[in-house]
Symmetry: D3
């Protein structure tokens, strides 16, 4: 049995039940799914400032999940916010990030991939992430849908048609694999894959499935991430001495 936490690091829970149902449908038989969102903060992470505001509560949630024995968790935003910080704080629970997951996977499925993002504004930071991961030369293009994150699930027909157009442009750019560059783009992949004839990677489902895989590796081989050097954890004495723990350990997940 494995328990997976998906966190939508935003202050509304509209998508939580839909996502939970979706993950349950895609899960291995012995996987238990929890989907959670935040109590305070922004409704989307289109701006990096918003990402900053959600990190403290998100980290507290992941810390609690680790203590409660979750086997893996996903930070549900394609900007991969807090990748370094969350791995630093967690010690035994693998934590999955969508851009990292989808781009490493796509690199094994084709020579070039394109990422379909919500707005042009997303590109610089996501492009910097690709540099970090070493995968920039696998990029055919970023294609912007010019849609606000909150719009994706409002009128699915409109979104589907915008995504199809973006996907076609990506193929012209030389993409052999397509990646959805936002966790709110869920649900549009199958039709696109059928029509365009190339693998289309839904960042939401894929991150969830990779979390299951990571949970399995964790249970069998004890792997989360190395605690040597880069992800070495802060010391408890300091955290206590400075009164940081209240901050960090308050949030409850049931």
């Amino acid at each position: 049995m494995r328990r997976i936490l998906w966190l939508n690091p935003i202050a509304h829970s509209d998508h939580d039940p839909i996502m939970k149902k979706m993950f349950q449908r895609e899960a291995l038989p012995d996987t238990e799914v929890m989907v959670k969102s935040l109590t305070n903060g922004p409704w989307h992470l289109g701006y990096h400032y918003y990402g900053t505001l959600v990190l403290p509560e998100s980290i507290a949630i992941f810390l609690n999940a680790e203590r409660e024995g979750y086997d893996a968790a996903v930070m549900g935003c394609f900007y991969d916010p807090g990748l370094r910080e969350i791995r630093e704080v967690l010690t035994t629970m693998p934590i999955v990030f969508p851009e990292e997951t989808c781009t490493h996977l796509a690199a094994t499925m084709g020579e070039k991939f394109s990422i379909l993002v919500a707005e042009k504004k997303c590109i610089p930071a996501m492009s910097e992430n690709l540099d970090r991961y070493g995968l920039s030369k696998k990029l055919a293009s970023f294609v912007s849908l010019d849609m606000n994150v909150l719009e994706f699930q409002k009128d699915p027909a409109v979104t589907q048609s915008r995504m199809m157009a973006a996907g076609k442009k990506a193929l012209d750019d030389g993409a052999e694999v397509l990646i959805f560059g936002c966790t709110m783009e869920y649900g549009f992949a199958p039709k696109m894959q059928d029509t365009l004839g190339v693998p289309v990677i839904d960042a939401t489902i894929t991150s969830f499935k990779y979390a299951e895989f990571k949970a399995d590796l964790r249970q069998r081989y004890g792997w989360s991430h190395s605690k040597r050097c880069a992800y070495e954890s802060p010391k408890n004495e300091e955290i206590t001495a400075w009164g940081l723990d209240k901050n960090a350990f308050d949030t409850q997940i049931i």
Copy 2:
């Protein structure tokens, strides 16, 4: 249910039953394992020339496995021989390569990894693979065990002690994660991980587990690898016209 083929692309089958047992122990409940080796050719792939000699038969085996409905397969050599060629020929079955798999995974587990290879001779081609994959800057070092591939399983105590020394050197080089750079180094990871306190990635087990994961993605989402452009398959008419098919389709897998 999923069926996974592991190919040892060498002309002796000494390791096949041991590996099969090992994979069965590590498999998900509904995974069926086949381990196979070749009928002709070299006994190890320490030289690239040997890699060339084994590719035609290996490709024929993978083609047959695809036809017989295998859900994923592994090309069991850390040089990742035939990565481009095999993906070109296969259309629906995902094919897993050890260096590609282990280094992409390690990149999500630490800032820097080291690869423990059999001999210095391995380094240039494996290093070139890292460049291809985009992961060169994640490399702390290659450490050579200065052992012949055929020796690894002969005297496990000797091998374990050599590997421990190499692992310690790798930590001094700045590694946060260790990778075994040969599929014949199987079995030595757990003790090393316990002693050194960093994740130690066994290339054999890890590639097998990743093949299971890929098989799952294949069954659910239809993903193997893109057939657009880079991995576009040769045309059957040509293959028939030139009498290549006998070559390619002869080999049987039970």
Copy 3:
């Protein structure tokens, strides 16, 4: 006249008066200096998690400073925390980051520089910053002083001697310019420069002087940073609708 804010993004103010005096001594005649620290949080930013905890209050302080007409500000930590987030939120006030400033400057002063950091733990993230800035190939080495940030100013003689040893090692590594990789290493540069005969860049003073320069460019040419695309600001309506502003605008600077 120009007003410069230096923020020590830590929850104690022990260094504030010393730094203020130091900056006043180094300032242009018509520069007014403010040094501030935080009310809550960690005492140093040796861990990225700590960096996350201090960002919300730090951003609020910079926002207020901008509103009050400061001409430039410095985020006083060599990890350059919040570089993207702070530039996103600020619209007219230039914001200076120590690693960015010192490495771009050093690149005009020699072929290779070394960075003297507190602990090995600092290296992965600072090295990633260098990649972002494009300056990795100018790096001769990181040299770790193996000292806790809080120790630097405790026994100056000990620190000076450690730094001298580290500086000599850096020269052997091929450095032509030395950079102090922590804003708490202030005060040790002049003696080191005299002894070693190469430019030694104090990250604290240098960042302050660069803030003065940026303030001047701001006043004359209206330059802070581009608000197009990467640093486009979040929208006020969202901030108000989601109740984020209380968070952001509470902190007062006198």
Copy 4:
């Protein structure tokens, strides 16, 4: 005197006499030319799988050529198949590859070059080769002629006009030098060079001339390629023990 072997690694010999005549016309006075093709296998190498099928026989031919005292040889395909494998096996005879040769040469003749390839399918692997050789930043563009390799010499007027159009596009892409990205594009360079006013590098003739140059360096200074590490040869004992030699040494060159 020097003897040069050109191998067309395909299973038909239609181009051999024409090429032989062409090379004889271009040769230094004391050069003797042999052009050979294979007995079995595909008629072109447009797919990497085909490249795999031809390597064993090709290697055997090169080994025999070395034994018979040839001074240099060319592997006549712009994919540079078997670069690492063939250099590994050969010990004293220099072996020339078209993409390696033409791109290194073009890098000394202009800031940017374009490569005119048969089909889009060629681009990923040829682009990966450029990365290996370090020359990617010299690339202005790949331009696809959208022609099958077997068509180039069928209707020269059609081919010439396609190539001229592709060459013009390449100039618009910023190319200062043009390279033919297939050894079957021979014969079209002079007219194109006259018309476009930039150097046009015929991959066939150029590789042959470079082989002559390498033969000369071999005779005077003993240089083929280093046998240390990367191109270290497999051991004869292994080859004999495993019965590989029959495979390798059968083929006769007259």
Copy 5:
């Protein structure tokens, strides 16, 4: 007080008085400005050969300026000619180069910048400089104005309109900051910045202001550039023995 020398490394002085007035208008209160040009040589540096012809006299002028106590100088050409050579010869006076200065500055002001150059011919060498400085990935595009350097100041209305069109193209290319890629493009920035709403960096004024900043750092901290290794100066004995000094020290600056 600080004295700054601006050298127009061309053999006519038409722009000297205008530039001097401009710099005086932009200078800090206690800055003294000298603008100089050459006695012999080309009228512009559009060709690298011209750059070679002007270096000996330019170096002599900078050497004299250093001896006469100038606090900083600018080599007034965006090709940054003689960067290595001039830093090698000067020992205490900082020397500023426009492309180096503007691109490092722009890198702190946005994610991507474009450079507006006189002619396409400028691009290869300026692009190579960016590679040297490590800033190539910050480049959105070079946009050519297709104007001769000598034309820029002839009909300002024409130039302004060409530059505006080029600036708009640069924004489409993804630029967040614009840089003028020629010191003769002075004067056109303010209107462009107002219209396009992004920072527009005039290479002339910016280099002058950076020279002031460098002069200040020089006076306070003794920094010009490291004399260790890369910029180590030639030895006086050799210069005297070979009669080179006449060459170098003849030129007078009043």
Copy 6:
């Protein structure tokens, strides 16, 4: 028949007759050799400033050689001074540079090469050249002989022994091919190659042989370097109008 000019860009001719004899010994039967040095300037180019002083006269000599019908020329210094400038001015005569030539050649002979340079001072600029050429990742190491250029031929036994030690160090660094990083290191290669068992590339002889090869390509296919964009020549009208031609065309070659 082909005529090759070797220029020693230094103001003494001590090595000219020895080199001429050496080149004649190594030349193809129908090659005519001219070795020339300068009338004024430094005796070695260990400093970049010296490189600047010799360029105008060197360029004039190459221009005259082109006019007199030389088929190729070598700029005899491993810093490759004036690569861009000389190619810009010459229109039909190929010009060969030692570092460019030797490193591109070595890249076809092994995975990694080391360069044996006179002094540490040489490394930054030669390393920057490797970056330009794209070959940095082929570098195992620079090894400094810590000898002045003028000493190499004084006591050959001393030099040979220093070089042997440096060569051994290079092998430990992973080099598979060795390159002499100065044209004054001629004559020491054969013994070193015999002893160390790897190809040792003498920069002097190799550049000469490559010039012969380039001359041949020039005669047969009209190739020198592209005159489009990067190496476009300055216009005669400007040169005449500004009185530059006297400068450029005075020098005579017999």
